[in-house]
């Protein structure tokens, strides 16, 4: 019985990892392509949740969870065009400062628009409750999230590896100077990547709005875990981020199973161990411009 309980935690950890992945993948993509640590990434996650709560009132939850990431992705265009673009080749401290400032501005803006008190929404009745398969119990709603995340990851992988768009982006990560020499402007690709990245974060926020507290500082809260995932996974690796996100979810679940008090600390211990053995992260590639 003990083993089955443990297995149940592992599977649940994988589901949670899928959710972390939504936030971490965008962070990693923007970091890889633009060389920018986007400290404002959490703000887009929070915006996704708030826009979803707001749209749910008129459109219903199903439509809101689809529309909200697209709405936030449109904001991403402005973010890239007017802010990030100025900092790709600048001293990284500047982009850190500007995205850090933007995160604070966004949090205050949310506070001014929606107030400091949390807003709430709920899961549609049809997705409430658990599904029991054999001895395993799954939250119906989280299974839905997992299915959507899996579909999105397949889509993003195809986009990056099977399309000309993806080839340019990947080349841009490794040798931006060579891409430029071939006469390809990376900027439109960067806009698209930022849209994709913040859109995924917003989707994470929208999905978690009904099962977590939707409050102005929620963006700052999620950033720590997202950073842990990116650092463990390694820069520039699509699979690295996926493996790291799932690993973080599973390690946390196992830790809580055996030693609940160590649950939250376990992911930092994991990060510490990974960095000790592989400073580049699990699947991090050697990227010239970061060396």
């Amino acid at each position: 019985m003990q083993f089955e309980f443990l297995l149940e935690q592992v599977v649940n950890g994988l589901v949670l990892g899928g959710y972390y992945l939504l936030i971490a993948l965008g962070l990693s993509l923007i970091f890889s392509v633009g060389g920018i640590v986007n400290l404002a990434h959490g703000a887009f996650y929070a915006l996704g949740a708030y826009v979803c709560v707001e749209l749910t009132k008129s459109l219903g939850f199903g439509a809101a969870v689809v529309v909200s990431p697209f709405a936030v992705a449109l904001l991403g265009i402005l973010f890239e065009r007017f802010i990030l673009r100025r900092f790709y080749t600048a001293d990284p401290i500047l982009s850190l400062l500007v995205t850090f400032g933007l995160a604070m501005v966004a949090e205050q803006a949310i506070r001014m628009i929606w107030g400091a008190a949390p807003v709430s929404t709920e899961i549609p009745q049809s997705f409430r409750g658990s599904v029991i398969v054999g001895d395993f119990l799954f939250s119906r709603y989280r299974l839905l999230i997992l299915a959507v995340v899996a579909a999105i990851m397949v889509g993003v992988w195809l986009l990056l590896h099977k399309t000309s768009f993806g080839r340019v982006v990947r080349a841009g990560i490794q040798r931006p100077d060579m891409v430029a020499a071939l006469g390809i402007r990376l900027q439109p690709y960067m806009t698209a990547i930022v849209m994709l990245g913040v859109g995924l974060a917003a989707l994470g926020g929208a999905f978690f709005a009904p099962i977590t507290t939707v409050h102005p500082a929620m963006g700052a809260d999620i950033m720590t875990v997202a950073f842990v995932v990116v650092v463990i996974g390694g820069l520039g690796s699509f699979w690295g981020v996926i493996i790291a996100a799932l690993l973080v979810g599973v390690v946390r679940g196992i830790a809580i199973h055996f030693e609940p008090a160590a649950g939250e600390a376990s992911i930092y211990i994991l990060m510490f161990l990974v960095l000790l053995v592989r400073p580049r992260g699990l699947l991090g590639e050697r990227i010239e411009k970061f060396e």
């Binding site: 850190l96 008090a261 060396e291």
Partner: protein, 414 residues
Amino acid sequence: MIRYRRRTLLQAGAAFAGASVLGFPAIVKAQTEKIRIGHLTPLTGFLGVIGSYAQLGAKLAAEEINSSGGILGKQIDLLSEDSINPATAATKAQRMLEQDGAVVLLGEISSASSLIIMQVAERNKKVFFSTGARSDALRGKNCNKYSFHCDIPNTVMVNAVGTALSQKGMVKGKKFFTLTADYIFGHDLLKAAKTFFGAHDANLIGDELIATDVTDFSPYLLKVRQAKPDVVCCNLAGNQVTNLVKQYAEFGFPYPLVGFNLNTGDAWAAGAGNLSGTWPTVWYHTLDNPASQAFVAAFSKKYGKPPENHAWIDYVTLKLLAEAINTTKSTDSGELIGYFEKQAQFDIGKARKAYFRAWDHQLVQEAYPFTVKPKDQMKDQWDMLVLGDAVPAANDPLETIYPTREQNPCEMKA
């Protein structure tokens, strides 16, 4: 092209993330003609939401006192800041008393921060009203002469809900599983709960201590299901209650969820349709009392939303402090302590008047159990709760629900 190292970037990123949790002290102007009062409450972190209400309540009280002539003919200058965490709370409390010239301190929700401010107050020989902290230990083994406790303690919350549950046959012989916040408040609440379970033949079959930064409860919920309890009991605080309530509704377990601690702000955040069960509260804005309703009207008019229980407690505390200063005509700590220890009675917007008990400085007052209104009967998003009868019953002495001298190890040093 500027070359930079990945590690440098990540280190700088981490440094920025760290900087965001530090507070920046307010710039304070010297204003000698005012009576300065320091107010600390968490505005960020898991208690930040309810702390924001506390700040609004204290500000409203200060405005009302000032517009009716102030105290001792002087205006109140309320310094209200984010206490952030125990270490910062201590630093800010010390600064307020030492540099800013605050004559008295009030506020706080976190029992851990409150405990440390109590020590600062004692060292500086200034009075501190711990408005929203509920740990029994604060008014028990850690009590001191300079600290007064306004919210109901954990034992009272456990008794208020426990009695209501007992009447529904949900205690005797039942298997309980508790989820407890892993800091002084939670440990203390669990202790009170265990005492109650022991006295009422209930079995505690499992308890999980949960760090205050946990937002995803799914691994804990799996452990709950593995234990198959009769009743699940939430001993959490702040945002965590909201998250648990929402995720409990998500998993749809058959075991009823009850709790020994809930603030109305957390209930509102959980939203209609997610919350169920029986919970305790110290005050609710629908309470049928003229003084309470006057406060609710003034608060709603000013802020566009009804007050939460922490807004109320910080509001009434500042009001009763002003009353005490006006009566004693002094801001001297010794005079104020002497006045409160005479068990002076205060109207705090409830059916019965409240007083600070002389030997442990606990504000003795009524408490209420509540259940949740069906969604279709709610008038608005805030009209969520149905208050039960006040405890203790009208003909019982108020102190019956509070720990007795034998149960409470408070030794006040002279």
